[in-house]
Amino acid sequence: MKDKVGAVLVVGGGIAGIQASLDLANSGFRVYLLDESPSIGGTMTQLDKTFPTNDCAMCILAPKLVMAGRHPNIELIMGAEIKSVEGEEGHFQVALVRKPRYIDEEKCTGCGVCARKCPIEGIDEFNEGLGERTAIYVKYPQAVPLVYAIDRDKCIGCGTCQEVCKAGAVKYDEKEKRIALHVGSIILSPGFEEFDPKLKGEYGYGRYSNVVSSIEFERILSASGPYGGIVLRPSDGKVPRKIAFIQCVGSRDAKIGNNYCSSACCMYAIKEAIIAKEHNPDLQCTIFFMDVRAYGKEFDAYYNRAEEEYGVKFVRSRVPQIGEVLESQNLLVKYVEDENPATEEFNLVVLSVGMRPPKHAEELAKTLDIKLNKYNFCSSETFSPLETSRPGIYVCGAFSSPKDIPESVAQASGAAAKAASSISSAREMLTTVKEYPPERDVSGEEPRIGVFVCHCGINIGGVVNVPEVVEYVKTLPNVAYAEHNLYTCSEDTQKRIHEIIKEHNLNRVVVASCTPRTHEPLFRETVREAGLNIYLFEMANIRDQCSWVHMHEHEEATEKAKDLVRSIVAKTRLLKPLKKPMIDVTPIGLVIGGGLSGMTAALELAKQDFEAHLVEKEKELGGHLRHIHYLLGSEDPQERLGSIIKEVTENEKIHVHLNSELSDVEGYVGNFKTTLNNDGEKKEIKHGVVIVATGAMEYNPNEYLYGVDERVVTQRELEERLTNGGFNAKTVVMIQCVGSRNGEHPYCSRICCSQAVKNALKIKELSPETDVYVLYKDMRTYGFLEDYYREAASKGVLFINYDDENRPRLVQENGKLKLTVWEPVIKTWTPIEPDLLALSVATLPNPDNEHIAKMLKVPLSKDKFFLEAHMKLRPVDFATEGIFLCGLAHWPKSIEESISQACAAAARAATILSKEALEVEGAIANVNEDFCSGCKICESVCAYNAIEMKEVDGKPRAHVLEALCKGCGVCGSSCPTGAISMLNFTDDQILAQVRAALKEETKYD
């Protein structure tokens, strides 16, 4: 058999595709990241903030974009689509066609002059048509790659862009290009398409100016959006006082064939309402919904805050129609409240549009020979949620089902693990490692600083008198050389800098140009190639912080540029070379928890050729899954469980430790040492990473006579009865949210609604005459689960909504269970006499969590589940490096979600395990032990657990764990004795910079 190809094609450059690419590239595979559009980033780039943390979407996404854009083993192929895929798992031959961009990606510096001078305007799709862009454009300002593209449909071919492009990047004769790739695996992450709200004619979208889609509203909210972050309505630019959000537009709608729930809309609508309120506290927001599906981690808390803190009004009603008031262009929203038809006037209506499969899904499926489900999303199975119907091709993100960002990210990492494991033998076959010349020893040398000042085309040069700045810079002490460049970042300038460092024997380099955020790595690379330590390089930002903000004050801007460069030169004088410490990695993983998640994670590690220790405190593997006997789909969970356990136990690389618990963990990323306690017997394990998969437990209710009357059971017990033939009830009532969404456990347990639907359907299957009532607060059958909800209803299962004021009341009367239920439609308390009452009980965090968290020094959320590094973009990471998370330990979740997350944790772990040694940041905290008083303040403020106390001469002294320190500097600025300094940002360096920045001003004083 042929050798496998160590490269992966990722189709779709949204957040999922980016995450998958990064994980693969960081664990030794070459990645081709393909997208139809000219830039990566997908829908997330258009979002303003993200729920439930209200992080700025762009701010958290940008670093990943930059990482993907600069990664030596990720090749971005923009504007391309797949034409054919031949071959099989391990070696696919993929034919791509790349549309002409008309811009040389190598040459374009992204300076944007072309767009400023382009005389042709067109609709700005990024701003959802609310503004204009030019025919030559970049999708959004932080786009990666930051390369312009010509919209051939708009362009009249006047040639202006080519003329004004000083980098010579415009090439009109570019033709469609055929590309042939040879890859081992393929990951599909093409995302989704927004539902076109015009199809819901009754809402007037497209006819009424003030009816906007939720994604348009994201742009309206965004500070970088068309309205500069003030919420305005499009008809007249007035600030709206009342906004209505209409949910389920294009979702849960049989009329238009989109029966499924789009999973994310409830949350984003709540978020949009909250953010709008934050913009304008007087604003009244009303959300018209069917069920509020706040099923994710911390979602209900967010929902509650919206209602209680922000005063967002929630109205449970499907809106049949929207009308417009001619004069004011206000909107009349018709709805039903308490069975009474009502009409309310709003200034603006936001339609929460659902997710549709990507536009070319069918074509893509045909080309790749994969199956789609009936909604044209990618088809997958419960126990293989990341696999398509064709081996070697994996799926993640919204293409497999509508989902939010963290789910997509987890799936992406999971798919990366899958893609990697099928070609793990080819790891590092196609990746490149760069060789550098030895670093020159500059110690003892007088600083000789070279300063390169960038014109950035006319971005800087058009405002700042760059040659004047250069002449000025030459007068500064220690500046041995200064020059100006049209684009300092261009390829030929890199060569030039290299030569000049040699020629002028420079030992420090300053580039005065744009932002280090995007360009520092490039210049560091250049100085490193010239034999200088990367920490001998500094940047002065005279574009974003000078020419762009002082566009019309040429002289003042020139003076400010001088100030900025002078201050950076002052700091540069004091720069010292720093070492990037290398730490060894033990290529072994430790997985805590032998349930489905833990076993999956261990298996994935083993498939990628890493050893894994699987620690289970029970005497057998399987966890919760042992109690699940059937699923909503057709798969047999027990059979699957059996085969998974078999696979785990038979795998030589997996060491299963049953009846074992952790008694001690020490060390850090790459080098952990864990002591296991196996019934009192201690065992020491060395490993490089930890995956926490400790699962959760079921709530043991004390409500509704549970434990008192045996006709009151939990859903799990009902499932047992339905499986074992002990079921013969004529009337079954299910009560949702028992132990969830209450004062004690305010969160949603996520899986109970679908569990209830599953069991209700099972009852109807076994005993169709049995009456089944489901008493619920919100039916949270998100995604394709909605189909089962609909099926249950159609089979006669009665779903009755209750709220906290009108909870069902249960009494035992004459040996019978008597339940009184508030029937909201007829507004009466109605009695039901169930033969069986099934309680959908909460999923509670594992009580061991606190103990384990302490050992691992990782945090728990306030609900006592483990708290990941970042809820949105790092769902399976902890802030502490080398420790990962999956399964119910993170949050209640389904089998598919657990498997995806487990794979994700394995993928993330592989990014460390695949390396022989880790290079860590050199600009980190440094303790002067003579000054340290051992007060431990630093230890307590460090978010990364990177400081520990060590005994030195019998006294506790702070010690920095280099591998964990991120160099943020919090410890240093908190240290009462000034014992901690931050390398590369020492007090001396910062003060020199400040003094130099102020020098000229004090002169005038």
């Binding site: 002059v113 001078k117 202006t160 003329e163 004004v164 000083k166 006319i458 058009g462």
Partner: protein, 576 residues
């Protein structure tokens, strides 16, 4: 002392027409003036280059026209016609009498021969303020212009008029003085002439070299035409054979017709393509009835009673090209045939009369004066020579060119300057047109009849009307000029076009290149830093770039926006 290597040639950029003209007449310049209807000014401009606008307007072989770029599009501009017209209008409206140029030099210069070469030298030196005397053997000055070209082509009064202009400048012309007889080099030196220019031309006819050449009725063309010019009546009989294919041959043929010949045949040994005579003259001659036989050469002239009777010829065919580049005629054996003739006029060339010249001046074969090709200096310092005597028979304009060069040498010689420095030139033809295909605008040449108004018997009003019409036609024709040369070419100066130039504000220029697109002359281009730069050589100051620049980064030196707006305000009667 720095030795200037001849490798460093003086490079000049001229439009094709001017580059082609031996006298470097500024064609583009007077075209520009004619476009504006400035006829007198255009003649003045021609006179800056040479003294014979009317003569050249008639008889020049006009290399300028052959070189005219317009031929790449449709037809060359009718330069010679325009020159003649301008000069005629000027003359007919009353001869311009220039003021004599004050003599600012003491060194006297003697010129031998009042032909075009001698007169041009005299003209140039007189303009420089030298006292110049021209010695002419014949009774009237003008040389071949006077005695070689028949009146119907070049009227005597035209020649006289242009020579009078030279005399008005202060040139003294002594006629009837024969060099080698009345004066010699030594006598001139003794009379205080510091420099001498010999331009006595070619007075002798080249012999046919066939039997019967001495028979009565054989008139060499030079003598024939000279006699005619002198007013002598020549009886040519009824049948005339002219041997040769040059202008003299055609002139002799046509003149014969005017003297009553019934049948005039030109016998030429090559084909029409090789004929040195001006095509339009040949054409005109044929129209008048002159017959031309090609590929025929005389073998002998057969007489009867000492007078020509028959001419026996041989058929020729064309062989390999000879030194002149023309294909050599080769006789075809046994093709002898005869023509009956009353007169034979050989017109196969002329030779200088070298007997009057010191042998030191002559070349090895003693057939011409040997000179330095660049400076026209002979082996004797201070003595220069030019024109036909050096080059063998050539054209008026070539003689003028030689005269001008001699004048420069003489001026330098008299000032003790190096005669050669900086004179080796390389002429680069300029044109702003890069792709002839792109110029789609075509126009046929506009022509109007030649006119000598004063000599026509028409009413004053009618003449005036006619003149207006002709001027209009001439203006249109002048507009056909593509103005290939640099703007300064027209020497029109500010009175003509304000000599405006575009100026780029480099700080505003973004390099969009619109200026280059709208500039009809490719005078604005981006430099390597992507900033527009005006090539002042090419910029003609129209201002289109300025009015089109998207960044308003281009202004004009003279017609600034504010000047125009000031003018606007002034016309509107606003206080400025």
């Amino acid at each position: 002392m720095t030795v200037v290597s001849s490798a460093f040639k003086n490079k000049r950029r001229l439009p094709p027409c001017r580059a082609a003209c031996p006298a470097e007449v500024n064609v583009q310049g007077y075209m520009a003036l004619l476009q504006q209807g400035k006829f007198k000014e255009s003649v003045e401009l021609i006179r800056k280059s040479m003294p014979f606008p009317a003569i050249c307007g008639r008889v020049c072989f006009s290399p300028c026209q052959d070189a005219c770029s317009r031929k790449n599009i449709d037809q060359p501009v009718g330069i010679r016609y325009l020159k003649r017209l301008a000069a005629d209008i000027e003359r007919e409206q009353g001869r311009i009498k220039p003021d004599a140029v004050p003599k600012t030099h003491n060194e006297k210069v003697a010129i031998i021969g009042a032909g075009p070469a001698g007169l041009s030298t005299a003209y140039e030196l007189a303009k420089l303020g030298y006292p110049v005397t021209v010695f002419e053997r014949m009774p009237e000055p003008g040389g071949m212009m006077r005695y070689g070209i028949p009146d119907y082509r070049l009227q005597k009064y035209v020649v006289a008029n242009e020579i009078a202009y030279i005399q008005d400048l202060g040139v003294e012309i002594k006629t009837g003085v024969e060099f080698g007889k009345d004066i010699e080099i030594d006598t001139l030196r003794n009379e205080g002439y510091k420099a001498i220019f010999i331009a006595n031309g070619t007075q002798l006819s080249t012999k046919l070299g066939v039997p019967g050449e001495d028979l009565e009725g054989v008139f060499p063309a030079v003598e024939f035409l000279r006699d005619v010019s002198l007013g002598k009546t020549v009886d040519v009989g009824e049948k005339v054979a002219v041997i040769g294919g040059g202008n003299s041959a055609i002139d002799a043929a046509c003149t014969s017709l005017r003297f009553g010949a019934k049948e005039v045949t030109v016998l030429y040994r090559r084909s029409r393509n090789e004929m040195p005579a001006l095509p339009h003259e040949v054409e005109a001659a044929e129209k008048e009835g002159v017959k031309i036989c090609f590929l025929v050469a005389p073998k002998q002239i057969i007489g009867e009673e000492g007078r020509v009777k028959l001419i026996e010829c041989l058929r020729m065919k064309l062989g390999e090209p000879d030194a002149s580049g023309r294909r050599r005629p080769v006789p075809i054996q046994r093709t002898e045939h005869t023509y009956g003739v009353d007169t034979v006029i050989p017109a196969i060339g002329q030779m200088p009369e070298t007997s009057c010249l010191p042998s030191i001046l002559l070349d090895e074969r003693a057939r011409a004066i040997s000179v330095d090709q660049l400076t026209l200096e002979t082996k004797i310092p201070g003595i220069f020579a030019g024109g036909d005597v050096v080059t063998r028979p050539a054209s008026v304009i070539e003689a003028v060119g030689a005269g001008k060069r001699a004048a420069v040498s003489i001026d330098r010689y008299l000032n003790g300057a190096n005669l050669r420095t900086g004179r080796e030139e390389e002429i680069e033809e300029t044109t702003w047109v890069k792709d002839w295909e792109k110029i789609t605008r075509k126009s046929e040449r506009y022509t109007a009849p030649h006119i000598d108004i004063g000599r026509q018997k028409v009413s004053f009003e009618k003449a005036d009307e006619l003149l207006t019409k002709i001027k209009a036609v001439a203006t249109f024709e002048a507009r056909r000029c593509l103005e290939c040369g640099l703007c300064t070419e027209c020497l029109g100066g500010e009175e003509l076009c304000e000599a405006d130039k575009a100026v780029v504000d480099e700080t505003l220029c973004i390099g969009c290149n619109v200026c280059a697109i709208v500039c009809p002359f490719e005078a604005v281009k981006k430099n390597e830093t992507g900033v527009a730069q005006v090539n002042e050589d090419l910029c003609k100051g129209c201002g289109t770039c300025s009015a089109s620049c998207p960044e308003r980064a281009i202004g004009m030196q003279r017609f600034t926006d504010s000047l125009i707006l000031t003018n606007v305000a002034a016309t509107l009667g606003e206080p400025t």
